[in-house]
Symmetry: C2
Subunit: 308 residues, 2 copies
């Protein structure tokens, strides 16, 4: 029996390129006339790219001019119906997460607020906005509409688990999938020909790209807690409040200022530079820098995000 029968498929590398600016997480999208925005996507150059990651870096550089720092493979998407435009060839996409410091809007692309795509993921404001309230209400309706009692119970459970309390930021992907399965996203209508949902559920992307973005957010939120990835998104020197705001932007929740400071300082993640930020108002903050040697001391250094 052959151990290595292989299928021929068409593969692209899709990138979720994330930056944080003005307290909001943003990701890069590209526009094509007459189409929803899409994640930047490029091919593997089978001849030149020794690895998938090098392929991604190459075309991101050539296309957007960005030299991405941190890169991490997310997931490989290969559902049959993910690219309805394609022929019989299976369209497989390897999704990547890349982190960059805020920059000029790059060539042929623009930054979009992550929470314009996934509005329910921003829980920094304790009162849910009208969009989120509508989504929660629609989920209740969906749960109550199950065919029989078992289905209704199971739906209600999924809603309760994923939309909390307690809020679990890492469940971003599961929330996206729940909304898709509840037919509350325009993607569902697009993929099935059903009528569009009556409520605003954020900006949809092309193909399954919003799902890939949700995957990236989940992964990034998880990683935040046990690896020092935030610093990829910050300038070399930063105040603790800037650090906190960046973490909060990604995590989608607010944190207790004094405790955050205590945690970060005690963890050895950062060291003071002695420099002060010029202050707008209030006492000027000390500027800190990341202390890479923390990896030697603590096996899993991350900023404390109390997800649970």
């Amino acid at each position: 029996m052959m151990a290595d029968a292989a299928a021929l498929v068409a593969m692209t590398l899709d990138a979720v390129i994330v930056a944080v600016s003005q307290g909001r997480p943003r990701l890069l999208v590209v526009d094509e006339p007459g189409q929803p925005p899409a994640l930047p996507s490029g091919p593997l150059d089978v001849e030149r790219d020794a690895t998938l990651e090098l392929g991604l870096r190459r075309w991101v550089r050539s296309r957007t001019g960005l030299e991405v720092g941190y890169v991490e493979q997310l997931y490989t998407f290969g559902d049959r119906d993910r690219r309805p435009d394609a022929g019989p060839q299976r369209q497989v996409s390897v999704g990547y997460l890349a982190l960059v410091e805020e920059t000029e809007p790059p060539l042929d692309a623009r930054w979009v607020d992550v929470y314009a795509l996934l509005p329910w993921e921003d829980q920094r404001d304790p009162e849910p906005g009208p969009e989120e309230a509508a989504i929660r209400a629609a989920l209740e309706v969906w749960a109550a509409q199950g065919a029989d009692a078992d289905v209704r119970r199971e739906r209600a459970e999924r809603v309760a688990v994923n939309f909390g309390p307690p809020w679990d930021g890492i469940r971003a992907l599961e929330r996206y999938e729940l909304l898709y399965g509840a037919h509350l996203l325009p993607e569902w209508a697009r993929d099935t020909g059903a009528p569009p949902p009556g409520i605003d559920t954020g900006i949809a992307l092309r193909f399954d790209h919003r799902r890939i973005a949700a995957t990236a957010l989940s992964r990034l939120r998880g990683k935040l807690t046990y690896r020092p990835v935030v610093f990829e998104l910050l300038p070399e020197r930063f105040s603790l409040l800037e650090l906190q705001h960046t973490v909060e932007a990604l995590a989608g929740i607010t944190l207790h200022k004094q405790n955050f400071r205590r945690l970060v300082e005690r963890s050895g993640l950062v060291e003071g530079t002695g420099q002060r930020a010029r202050s707008q108002a209030g006492r000027p903050a000390e500027l800190f820098r990341f202390r890479p040697s923390v990896q030697r001391e603590r096996p899993r250094p991350g900023v404390g995000v109390p997800y649970r």
Copy 2:
């Protein structure tokens, strides 16, 4: 500019199928005459398999007779040199982790102790065995042989971080990659034509399959701590000691018995059945079963493995 130029590649689905029996984690390999053991691997059927995961389930079933329960995509491997036997076509593999309850040895395949592949990952015995001692010694030598002081320091750091203390079970993949990079694995010799390492570093698999196995172990150890995946590996009813031994087998460390019991019972992960195990020696243990509704109550239920 095309947003969707795609490369044609040859894709397989490789499975790390894990079970735990007699206190040892095992994974399934297939043998081909004259070759090292390999992970079971199969093609996507582009016509029939609507998703990659369904494709994996289909060929695992048809080939081994196993109906796998829990399945999770691990990583996609696409390095140019990962399949030196291949022609110009890029050979891409999507690795999956699957968990099954212990079974008869399936068709055309056999169970292999995970720690026969990755002997340094079993830290349940506080004294390192002779193999592990040799590996650690060889790593020290490698670190000391760096070209200049910076390289030596960086190597020593990587060794210290990955081989602890404190021991971090989740770094299994990083340890594998460190050993590969230190030229201590026969795979390095095979891939580069260099002479084989002089020490025993466990059973190598074909291609990059041992790397995929290490990826699976890392992922599984991580998942253990925040999702109730252990129960996929256990019979419906089990004693708390069986549960503990299963966790220890996967985590590669030993746990404090009373505290483990307290943790598991308080977490709501299990419920007593009132039944008793027939005892070999000592007081008979109560049999417990997994309580799925724990997911409603706790957002991230897992058995406590103190990795840090």
